[in-house]
Structure formats: structure tokens, C-alpha cells
Symmetry: D2
Subunit: 480 residues, 4 copies
């Protein structure tokens, strides 16, 4: 019934999923978007939204439904039925605790000089604050704290100067800096665009006469659509009644695809920029085995994202792969911790070790990353309590040393255990017998053909500090 | 969990209530605003909202809670507790069916070049579409369809030119036309303003060191505040730490206070612009008795708004006043009509006649207005079924002949029974033995001292078509 | 989603409303029951429920929907549609704070030896604890704390001995003592029964081939049904396909109709046992005027129940009747009092005095009763603050001196101001200029033809302590 | 706000989880029960409930919270805080569609001759209808359709004859037939009991001075409790202030532990009756490999329950184990299928195949069972579409041929594909290259030491039709 919001400029680093659809046969797209968002749920569990438009109806009538929670909490049979339209855009959003509120849900829907726009955005701008300030000095007002609102303003203002919305999008892209994969719905066009560095993925798909944009190919699978191609970094793809138009004038040679999409964010059944996420994780496991072999009886993964790399490790070494953990899938967004004092540890609630599997064994435990180290310590301890004789931790990414400004919530240095502690120290802190990280120098092998010299083919700034785009210098909470 | 909205420009004529508070002693104002809105609930039952700010906290952090429904549905103990702040503004909103959605709830909260603003608005602009068009052509984007967003843009743009927010408000007022009573909260100031014609009421009150703005005095009573004075038509009142400042430079001689506030909208225990609503209704009843006497045994009012005028009629004629109807107060916003076919009439659900009171009597039935005539017909019929020998209908307003563009939902001509039918016809259609309206020529008597020649002292355009401000010419749904 | 309940035997004295329907043409009755309950909402706002059965469907399939809250909160279009059936029973329930929970909602639905039963009960048994104990000693288990469960057990056990459900109901009535108006739905019959003293009302109505039972005639009006007759005290009326059967073998000469139904509980547009509630209140006002005249300028009622008596006072004395209070109808069940300290008084929120009406006047204020005296004191004070010169309080019932055990929540002696204070003291405590109660000796005049000697025609035990049925001696929370 | 229920006797075969706790140090147990139920969520997702009692408070005050939905939907911080008590019992429930309603949620809480009882029950009685009939003929009434109510009646009636509640439980057990693991909370005792055949598991655990009963050991892990022992089939264990008492007088030699608990129901990290669920699944895979080897490149499991058996198959054969499916964990209880026609298949929503893993491979796909065959067909097809050259299906249980009457929802013969089709036919119908089931004759190997001759050591009636207890003969919906 009500929404409570703290209105404040909070430069949240977020990870999101976007999905768009346009059915040239006039069929309704809301259910496909629902399924697509559902397949992208792992990219954001905080809020979800769908906006649709009927391209044959009165121009500019956009209907939308947005809400806090999971896709299947936000949408009901009834609310989907209230979203007629053959063109539409959807969004799932994650944001760190405390900054979540209904007014920040996407897609953003707005009227501007030429009609109506719907926008869904995945990524993070680095010059959003500067742009907000400039826009405010020419009379803009802001009702949300999301970057999409800044982008919308720029598109609206560019649209005053140029003849069509896709050009306005392109011109706006000339002003924004950072990570963005964007789906824009105008009353008659669906536009997908990706920043010139290609930080975040965006895929084009097709089913009959219906075209789709999606953050990952797994969402195309969910709607039985076939993969057409990845939108290119810097490209603006317009799906219109006149055909699929591509503007590549902003494309550049240097790319900075987020390597962590492959290591952690994306679903293993997705392919991003032609590279299988599954294969890149198998490769990560193999590299770990080559770089940090272990004399062990068993390789296990920390569910779910460590599993595939663990299999790669097992394949490379011949050490048997095993399943050592049972994960409680019912630990949802709303799981509460009773206030009453209790000894139960919440890690035990989410994960339990299989004594039968690990007892008496020397275990290699593969996980995707270590942030603060506390969770790793608890899991190592759980294995020991279940009888593991040795626990060798292998991490399928290099140590986190720097924050991310491009759409993930890798936190500031002081919260990153590796920033202030060496490998040996971390090993001791998490109670492992040995610890090995993926060498940053071999990250490129995860992506197949890319060679090490191709230094901007992907972004690894959180490991190296080499930011492909200048990070924001001032405190992001500054101006407002 | 979710909100479903139809995004479309819908020039809804609405009636709202506004309330603001500023406690110079630093006490929290949310609970007072809650009580104030509660007393104004009759002015809008669709949605409610409160936004507050802590004038001693970090500048520009506004917290708000808004939702669909009644005040006591939207706010909980918990949500009120999450609204700390010594300055705040609240709003209750009514809008006709179909156009209601969460994104249109007020107060509007936004960031602009100089920080944060909260706005609550009662009224309706007549040049909103034109202003939206102009703003859009300079790059504005619109996320709602409410006039408050237009006003906010104008204030934001004026603020770029002038040194303080109250001047920006005044300058913005120079651009907007129509009906508005406005409360603006900036991080350190609470500003109340009223359009130069004074269509909608706005009152200033005080309790200790806390100052209030409210749509009606009954809301001041609810918070034990004393009445200070009405904000003047055209006046901008700024409550600041430096004192209560008044800018009357936009004040003018011609006023157009909505006469229907007295006849119907306002609570009878309120005083607006110094005139008691109760007294004006008693006067309406007396005038009706003088103009349209009836040979009758009993005078009854249609609850609730017809009761006081009925008492005036009884006082003037000496015919006994009686209570002929029992009203079911539990018919709320969410009362459903089961789809299953049934003979039960929904008027009977809301109202029942007292056979003991009316049986065998010649009854004068006083109501405030007739719009389409169908409800009046049902009530007259109900009296006859309860045994009334005669039913003489007296209406405490003149016939509705023209739509209202100034904040009420008096509909278009074709829906107004009096527009196409004479008094005798209407009398026959509603099944009355006689029918008498309040003569438009005596409306001024409801307001006490105002004389008939003072033609712009109040607005009676819905009866006469003499609009004090040019109504919008184009279809209000035009541009978008 | 969830219900929290405290399971404990809590002999709550409650006031409820019951409604039943049987359509011999096979039409669905849920919507009629919904409307009927809606008209009885004043008898209970805590919970509501409907149970229906299809007499032509598989025997014994009862569908029900019950919930906490008002009728229009509990039922939706969807839930009503899920209640097909041509026979049904409904209930609204009130209980004092703290003892309310979902498992106590009615109708009670259960399976027993001969199939399915639905029960709705208004009243309070005085031997419920004893019966519970006896039943428990023969193996009964109790899942609720409501008397209906005891009655259901007795019916079930009697049904083992006799050939039909109506006889079982009658035999069960031979065992229970106290106040009850009961509607029992078996798969093919709808039975209405009233205790031999007739404490609570129960009416029989008819619309075409549909028959109704209702607590008050106003519920018959709400479904456009005509009044047939009151169920007699002690009568069992069975609506069956073979006709309407009446068993009057438990009827007795001594009756004890609750006089407070007329003074306060029932709606003024109802007739109970042939007496108009409206007329009895007019009469109460007239008697007050005769017994306690006042030299005054104005007679006003405390809304809503004091209004009619005030009119009677005015009619008898010729002193003008006026409306002195505006009541806020939006103060619902869920109105919260913010925890933040505030000076606002909650009486002011619900009621506001009209200065224009009372200023400078000597006012007679008529109310239905005084329980603790605090509310009366606040209202008197409100009149004085609004300028009343004198406030003469007249109460349309005698002083409350004793608790009620027959279905109302008149509390224990120590909470009744009149139990420990004389009239003059109470007058002073509430700040009135004079105070007059209705004399207990004239209560019979409220009921029309009943003469004073007919001492058990009605129950006035809360005023006199002469209980028509022995009240329970042990603490009602005893055994469990 | 409301509950809609169909009241009908519906002998639903259900699978549930139970958990109880008693803290002799007087600490509150609600949070432990919450965590315990959470770990048992896989045993029932339809409803959840907790009832607690303070053994030091007034006797017989039980507080409970029950609701439809998952554990983390039913309980909030607030509702857990409203459940003080050092003794308590909890329940999660699953039932097939259509028969779920709030009144059937457990624990059942009731008053009887000796005070208050709370009951939680996992299993299914085969003579419930007969007992209901007998009870009804001695005056019982039934408000739910769950077996717990029958058991409660029997306990209540036995309690009249014997001196303590544990004896009453034991005597009641003498009358009920079928599957039950039962936790009974009386105001001062917590009693765990298991039917003499031991169909359903029940474990005793301990943490400090707190004792627990749980359906599985994984729930003990979740509260950091240690495993003490399994309650014996036929045993009544009473946890009282005087110690832990055991009554084994109903124990018998013949047992019928549900073999399907090991194959499917239980979590792999649980041990039941001393046997590791994980190990029994590994063994099932090994047996499958021995009985139905396959010339293949890869072994994969259908998540989640097929995974461990797949690993056993891989271990036995040396064929590499792989993960071929990505499961969408967000497909919850409330996932809706939009009504709009669409080509998206819902299997694809829940599960997606990894092309990289299976393309070009001969795949062994291990699943736990085949019921109707449709899901298996879709998954086989999914593997083929992902490029699998061959798909050899191996099922870690024998073919389902007969319904289960002991607490699971294995359906009637006509719905079991294996009942009317041979292995070859089923193989063709699901599109597999080969199909192999676990031989019924080797089921005992899953349980370790039990030998084949020990024919009643476990129940395999759904595979063989040899019911350890006579199944009910009449239609379970008969009498009511």
C-alpha cells in the first residue's frame, strides 16, 4: 500500500538485467518479457518492472508495472494481463542494502517533447554527478537517483536537435561516460545500445517476427528465441518497422568487457560476446590447477558459482570432483534472522557440508572470489567440522584490490581483505591449508582468443586498478 | 508489492487537501501532519503522502512515504516512525476513476539545482499543457501527469535566476494560470502560496512554536492549533527561521473563491476566508425556503452535506427538521459489487430511509446538488417507498451548467442533467413533486458581506459559465 | 499470510450480527449474504465470514471465507466468486481488544456424524464453561474459545439420538443457558433459533423464493427482502424444501429482550420484535424531557446514537434541535496513534464541535450512555471550548450498574462510573451543568405496549442487577 | 486478511516435516524451531506453523502462528517475537493442489480435559475415515480434514482413562494404523512418537540443555545440535523435567521404513535410521551402473535429486560426471504462467541445458523417478536440442506401479506410466536411447546392512504392491 523512501543521491553500484521485445505481428510481449526477466533474476533480486506500448494504439500510451521484490512477487496473472502491447522493455535490479526504494525501480517511463520513452539500464555512469549538475543548471529536476534519469534527460535534449530518437540516443551516448547497456522504447521503436567499451553485455535475439534484446543468452533460451548476435560495444541497434538498423559510428577498438561476468555474474548457460560462460569457468579451474596444484583426494565447488571451476580443476588434475555441500534454495530475499540470541550460525542455514563426502579427505575447495574473507573462513571451518583432513582453497579470480565503478558492487579498498593482506595472511585468516588465486596475467585465457597484449579487450580494473575509464574523483554523494 | 500505472497525460480535475508543518523547536512533525491529513480526508480518499526534512540534519535529505488509499491505510506506526523531521508537507488526493496511480501521488519530492524540494498542490492549472510543451521544448522530461511537476520545473528554472526559493515560487506563479494552493518545502523553509484568484483555500495556523498550513481550519483543530489567518489570494507566505515573511506583490483585487467549497467540499466545522461553512449552508437553506417554500410536514437532508442546509430551511419555515436516512458509514473505498446478478440496489446499501419518520408525510428533501440526476431519482423513490406522501426537492446550489477547470470534477456539459433539461423536466425525471434550486443571483449571500456587484469575489462559473480565467481551449489530452 | 493467536479460554462478552439465506430457485446466495452482513457491520467490526453449500451438489461440501476486518476488507470479488451455493450463513463479530484472532471467526464449519454443519451465533452462554468441562470429560477437544463450538458439540451429540437436525438443535437448546440467536446450516436445511428469553433479535425475511434470517430488519432492506416475522423467543424455525417449519415447544412466557438493542446497538432503521428502534429512541428523548427538563436554547445529540433521542427531547420540549458535532467517518478500525509525543487529543480527531451552532447557547447534550465517564467529560469540554454557556447532559438509558453476561461488553462494576458515584458526582466529574438519566422505571415505555408489570418482557439487568438467568459464578477463565 | 477454504474430507497423501524443541534452561525456542523448519522446507512448501508454550507460565497458554506459504513468508521478526516459550513444536506441510487451506495448517492446537495440546504430524493414517466415523458416532465434531485431528481426539479420550499424556499417546497409537511421526506438546512435556513400522523418520537431538525432535538430521545441523539417536519405530519418547523417558512396548520386529525418503524426499546431508541419504544415492547410482551400463561419454544428473546418483554411476563406471543443467532457483511456489498464448515451455524456464557440456556427447542422464513421463520426455529432448548424440536414461528407483498410502503423493495406477507401459515403451515415449531402472530386488542395498530376506525392513509397496499395512478399501472421500 505504501512506499517509504529516503530521497538522497546515492551512487549505488548496481548489477541489473534488461530485456526488451518487439513483435512485428502485433502479439503481446508482456509474458515473454516476464519469462525473460525471470531467467535474468540472478542479475537483480531487489525490484522488477515491465513497461509496454501498443504500436498500433494511440501514440504514447505506455503502461507499466513495477515493484519491489522478485519477478514472481511483483507480477501476477492480473498485472500481466493489464500490460497489453507489442513492444516493451523490462528490468530487474539489485542494489546494496539501504538504498533500495520504489521510485528507483526501472524501466523509467517519461514524457518528453516528442512523446513517450521507456528506459531500462544496466551499468553505472562515472560522470553522472557532473551531468546532473550541468542539467540542473539548465533547469532539470530529478525525481530519482538512478542514472537512467540522467540518460533520459540527455536523450530528450538531443532529440530537440536531431530528427529521430536513435540519433538522440547516439548523441546522448557521446556525453555519458562509464558502463551502460541500454534498452530504449519509443512508441514505434525499440533501441538497444551498449557503451563503447562494452562493459555490460547486450544480446540480440529473434523468434519468428519478434525481436529481443537481453542481457544474457539464457533469457533468449527462456523464450525459445534464437541468438542473432551481440550488440557491439558502442553500437546503437534500432528495431523499427523499416528493419533492424545499426549505427556503429561510436564503436572503437578498445573494449573493456567485464571479466567478472564470466567468473561470477552471468549464468553458466549463457554466452556473452561469443564466449561460453561455462567454458570460461572450466578454463579458470584448469588454470588454477596448473598454477596451484594440490595433493588432494577431492575437488569441490562452493555452490553455485564455484562448481564449474571446480570441475575444470578436477578435469585438469584427475582428482575426483565431488559435491560437498547441500545448499538451501529457500533462503530467499526475505529470510529473517530472529532477534532472540541463538547459537545457530546463518552460514549453516544456507549451506551444509556432506560428511560422507569429505570426511578423512584432503579437499580442494574452489570458490569464485574472496571479498571480506569471513564467509570463506566459515565454509572452510564447515568442511573441517565435517571431517576434511586438509582444505586447499582455490579462487577462480585474482585478488580483489580495487573498487568497481562500472556496475558491480565490488566495494572500497578498506573492505577488501586482499588489499591489506598478502596471500599467506589471507590463507591463515580463512583457516585454509593452502590458498591459490587465478593469476591476473592469465585472465585473458578465460575469453578464448583474446591475447594478453590486447589489454583493453576486457576490464580487470578491480584486480589491477587499471581503469579503462577515469573513475569519479569526488565523493559521489557530493552535490545534492 | 507492485504498482500498475497507465502513463498518459490525463488532465484530471481533482480535489485535494494539503497540510504543512514547521516546528521551530525541532520537534517531529510527522504525527501532526498525519492528524492534519486525517481531518482533510474528505478532500481526497485516493492516495496520501507525507514528506519531511530535518532542518538540522544534512541538507537536502527528504524522507517520504506515499501510497494509494486512505490516510489510515497508507501510514502505519512504523512508517510514521521512519519520517523524522521538524519540517514537512502532506497531501491527500482524489481523482476520478481510472486515472489513479502511485506515480501521481503527492507530495512530489525532487532534487534541483539548489537542493531538494517537496511540493503539495491543490487545484488545477489551465495552462499546464502549454507549459509542459514549452518546458519539453527546452529539454524537460515528465514522469507524472500532475500539475505539481510543471510547477516544480518552473520553480527550479526561476531559482537559477533569483536568490531565494520564495522568489522563485513567486516568479513561477507569474507563469502558471488557474487554481492552486501550494505548499513548498525547501530544506530550511516552508512556503505557502495561493493563486491570485484564491480559488482554493489555504490557512495559516500556529501551536506554540510550530506553524502550520492547511486547506481547512478543521485540520488546525485536529492538531490543537489556533487559526492565525487565511493566506491571501496571490500571497506567498514563507515560514523561515528569520520569521514569517509575506510577499503580496501578486495580490489583486479580483478574487474567485470557489463557492462550492462552502456548499459541498469543505467540512461544516471549517471557516474559509473568514466565512463559516456551517453558516453559509444554513443561509443556503434559508434562501431556498424563501425562494421555494413548500407546504410540507418535515424537512430532511440527504446525508451528510444536505443536512445543514435542511436545518436552515427548517429554521426559516418553521417546518420540523427530521432525520429521514440512515447512512452506512462502512461503505468504503473498497466496497465491491458482487458480479453475481442480484436485485439489491447499491443506493439501498449506502442509505436507508426511516419509515417511521416519513410515512404519510409531505417531505422537503434538501440536497447539495444534482449532477446526472440518477442518484436523486433513487433517493426520492426511496422516500416514497418509505411512505412519504409528497417529496419536494430543494437543492442548495444553482443548476450545474458548465464544467469546472479549477480543481473539482464537475464534468462536461453532456453529463450535466441541467444543461439539457429545464427545471420542470428534471423535477419529473427525478420523480419529485416540486424542485427548487438556489438562485445564482443570491449565491453571494452565502459568503456574508460580499455584495452581488462584487462579481469576482467568488467563482460561480459552473453555474454561469463566466470563467474568471480563460479555460483551456484544446483537448487536454492533446499533445502527448 | 499468517495468523498469530493466543490460545486461551477467554469468555469474551461479544456483540455480533448473523445472516442466513436459502434460495429455493437455486440461485447463489453469497452476494446477498455479503450485502446483509454489510448492513449489520455496526454489530461487529472485528471479523467477518460466509459459509455456503450447494444443496444440489455433492452432500456436505461447504465452502467458506473468513477473515479479520470489515466486510469489505475480508471479501473480494474473487473470494465471493469462490463461494457458490444456494444456502449459506454469514457472521460479523466484535470482541474486546486482545481476544481477537482468526480461529475464533465465524461461521464455524464442521463435520459430524451426519455430515456438515455451518453455525453462526450471536450472544453469550452463561453455562459454557460447565458444558465445556462436561464435554471434555466425554472426550471432546476444543479448537476455539467461542460458544459456537460448545453448541456444535451438543447438536452433534443430540443428533445421534434424534432423527433430524432441527430436533437436535432443539435438544441442544435444552442444555445451553444464556443469550443466543443462532443460524445453523445443514446441507439441505437452514435453521434459525432464538433462546427462550429472546435476548438477541432474529428476524425472518423473504424475497421471491429466497428466505432469510437476519439480526435486524435493516439487513433485509439491504437485500430488498420483505419482513416476514420475528423468530419467537425459544422458537426453532427450519427452512427446508418441504416448507418453513416451526417448533415452539421451548417457548415460554417470560422474555428478556435486551433493551439496549433499542437504545444503542441496533440501527435506527430496524424494527426488532415489532418495535421500531427509531420510535423507541424518540420516546427515550421524550421521557428524558419529561423527567429532566432543561432551560436551554438548543438540543444536540452525540453522534450517531444520541441523535434520535435528542430529536425526541426537542420534540417534547420545543427547544430547537441542532447538529453540534462533525464526526470524522474515516476513523476506522486501523486508525493508529503515532507514538511520538503530541498534544493532539484523539477525541478531537473523531469529533469536532461547531462553534457557530453552540457559541453562547445553553445546550442540552443527549447521549446514549455513560460507561467510564472520560469520553463524556471530553465532549462536554469540547462544547464549552466551542462557546456553549451551559451544557446539560441527558442520557437515554439508566445508569450502568452491573455487568452484562448476555452478549454485550458492559464491563464489571469497578469500571462503571455510576456504580461508585451518585448522579451529582458524575455530573461534576464530566463537567456538566446538570445530568439526567432515563429512569429505569420507564424503560418499558420504549417498547410501546409492554407494561411495567410485565417485568420479564425485556432485560434491564445492567441497570438493576435483576438477571433473568443466573449469571456464571466462577471466573470464566477457570478450567482451562 | 482472509482465508478461503473448501471444506471436504480429502484424504490427501502428503509429505510434511516436523520439529520440536524443549529448553530446560527456560530459553525461548521459537527461533530454533524457525531454523529447523527452514532446513526441512523441502518436505513441505505449502504452509508452516509454530506453537509454543511457557512451561513456567500459567498452565495451558499456547501461542501459535500459522500461515500459507514458505517458512520465510509465514514468519516475520514480529511474529516470532510474539511466540515466547521454552517448549514448542513446528510443522511444514505439502499437499497436492486444491486441497490446501489455512484450517488444515499444523501444528494443531486444542484444549481437552487435561489442558492444552499442540500436535504436529507427518504421515498418513489408513484407518482415519473409520476412526472419524467411530468418533463421530460418539459425538465428535471435526473442523479440519487432517489426520492430526483424529489423533488428537484419540489422545484426549485415552487421557480420560490413564494417568498421563504419554500413556494416552501410546494408547491412541494402538488404535491408529498407518504412517505417522508425531510430536505432541503438552504444557510440561514434549513427546515424540513413531508408528511401529517406522514409515516416516523422527530423530532426537540435543544442544546443551535443549532437546529436539526433527524429521531429519539436517534440521539438527541447522540449530547446531548434535544427533542423539533415531526414535525407534513404535517408540514413545517423552522429554520431561524428570528426564527423557522411553516407552518401547509398541515396538515390533517388522519395519517398513519408506525407501523413497532415501531416493528422493530427504536431503542428502541427512542420516535417517543410521543410514546416510547421500551414501544410499551413491549406491543407487552404482547399482544402476552395474545393472544397466552404458557406452557413454558423460554422466549427468537431473537437478537436484538425480545428482548424487549420477555421481555414483560415474564412480562405478569411470565415465566422467558432468553438470548439464542450470536450474533456475527462483521458480517459487508463486510462479505464474501468463494466460497469453506463448510458445515458451515452462520446463525451459526451470531448467536449461548446457550445450558446451553435452554437445556431441553420448550422455547418461540419471533421475530419481518417472511418474507420468512427460517431464522426462521434455528433459531428454532438451539434451538432444543441446546437441547430445545419445541419451541413456537411468532411474535410481524401480518403476512406480502402485499408489502410496503412507504419506507421499505417489498417485493412482492410471497416472503411473509404468503401470500400463513396459520399459521399452516408456523408453520410446520419453525419447531415450536406452532406459534402465533400479531393480526392486536390490533396493535393500541402499540401506546398507539390511538383507533382502528382511522383507519388512523397508517399504517398497509403490514398486511391488506389497503393502505392509492393509490400504484403505473404500474411497477415501466416502463418508462425509
Amino acid at each position: 500500500m505504501s512506499r517509504t523512501s529516503e530521497y538522497i543521491a546515492d551512487g549505488i553500484h548496481e548489477e541489473c538485467g534488461v530485456f526488451g521485445a518487439y513483435d512485428f505481428d502485433g502479439g503481446e510481449v508482456a509474458s515473454s518479457i516476464y519469462y525473460g526477466l525471470f531467467a535474468l533474476q540472478h542479475r537483480g533480486q531487489e525490484s522488477a518492472g515491465i513497461a509496454v506500448c501498443d504500436t498500433n494504439g494511440p501514440k504514447g500510451i505506455v503502461k507499466s508495472c513495477k515493484g519491489m521484490g522478485l519477478v514472481n512477487e511483483v507480477f501476477t496473472q492480473e498485472s500481466l494481463a493489464s500490460l497489453p502491447g507489442d513492444i516493451g522493455v523490462g528490468h530487474v535490479r539489485y542494489s546494496t542494502a539501504g538504498a533500495s526504494n520504489l521510485s528507483n525501480t526501472q524501466p523509467l517511463v517519461l514524457n518528453y517533447v516528442k512523446g513517450t520513452l521507456g528506459l531500462a539500464h544496466n551499468g553505472n555512469l562515472v560522470n553522472a554527478l557532473k551531468l546532473r549538475e550541468e542539467l540542473a543548471y539548465t533547469g532539470a529536476i530529478f525525481q530519482t537517483t538512478i542514472d537512467s534519469e540522467v540518460i533520459a534527460y540527455l536523450i530528450a535534449r538531443e532529440r530537440l536537435k536531431v530528427g529521430n530518437v536513435e540519433s538522440a540516443v547516439k548523441n546522448a551516448m557521446g556525453k555519458i561516460k562509464g558502463a551502460y547497456s541500454l534498452i530504449v522504447m519509443s512508441p514505434r521503436k525499440l533501441i538497444g545500445a551498449r557503451d563503447p567499451f562494452g562493459f555490460r553485455p547486450l544480446i540480440l535475439g529473434k523468434r519468428g517476427n519478434t525481436y529481443f534484446f537481453a542481457s544474457e543468452t539464457c533469457a533468449l533460451d527462456a523464450v525459445d528465441a534464437e541468438y542473432v548476435r551481440d550488440v557491439l560495444p558502442g553500437e546503437v541497434v534500432s528495431i523499427t518497422r523499416d528493419g533492424i538498423l545499426s549505427d556503429t559510428s561510436l564503436c572503437q577498438k578498445e573494449h573493456a568487457r567485464c571479466i567478472f561476468e564470466y567468473i561470477y555474474f552471468a549464468r553458466p548457460d549463457s554466452r556473452l560476446d561469443g564466449v561460453s560462460v561455462y567454458q570460461s569457468r572450466i578454463m579458470a579451474g584448469r588454470i588454477l590447477a596448473q598454477e596451484h596444484p594440490a595433493d588432494a583426494d577431492l575437488v569441490v565447488g562452493v555452490p553455485d558459482s564455484g562448481n564449474v571451476a571446480a570441475m575444470g580443476f578436477a578435469q585438469e588434475t584427475g582428482i575426483p570432483y565431488g559435491v560437498a555441500f547441500v545448499k538451501n534454495n529457500y533462503v530467499g530475499r526475505t529470510f529473517i534472522k530472529p532477534k532472540q540470541s541463538m547459537r545457530e550460525s546463518s552460514v549453516r542455514i544456507k549451506l551444509n557440508a556432506l560428511r560422507e563426502v569429505v570426511a578423512g579427505k584432503r579437499v580442494v575447495m574452489v570458490d569464485d572470489s574472496i571479498v571480506r574473507g569471513t564467509t570463506s573462513a566459515r565454509i572452510v571451518n564447515m568442511l573441517r567440522e565435517a571431517g576434511a583432513r586438509q582444505v586447499h582453497v582455490r579462487i577462480s579470480s585474482p585478488p580483489f584490490l580495487h573498487p568497481c565503478y562500472f556496475g558491480t558492487d565490488v566495494p572500497n579498498e578498506e573492505q577488501l581483505i586482499a588489499h591489506s593482506h598478502g596471500v599467506d595472511e589471507v590463507c591463515k585468516m580463512i583457516g585454509a591449508d593452502s590458498l591459490g588465486y587465478l593469476p591476473a596475467g592469465r585472465l585473458h585465457e578465460l575469453l578464448g582468443g583474446i591475447t594478453e597484449g590486447d589489454c583493453y579487450g576486457y576490464c580487470r580494473a578491480c584486480f589491477t586498478g587499471d581503469y579503462p575509464v577515469e573513475p569519479p574523483t569526488e565523493d559521489i554523494r557530493g552535490i545534492m
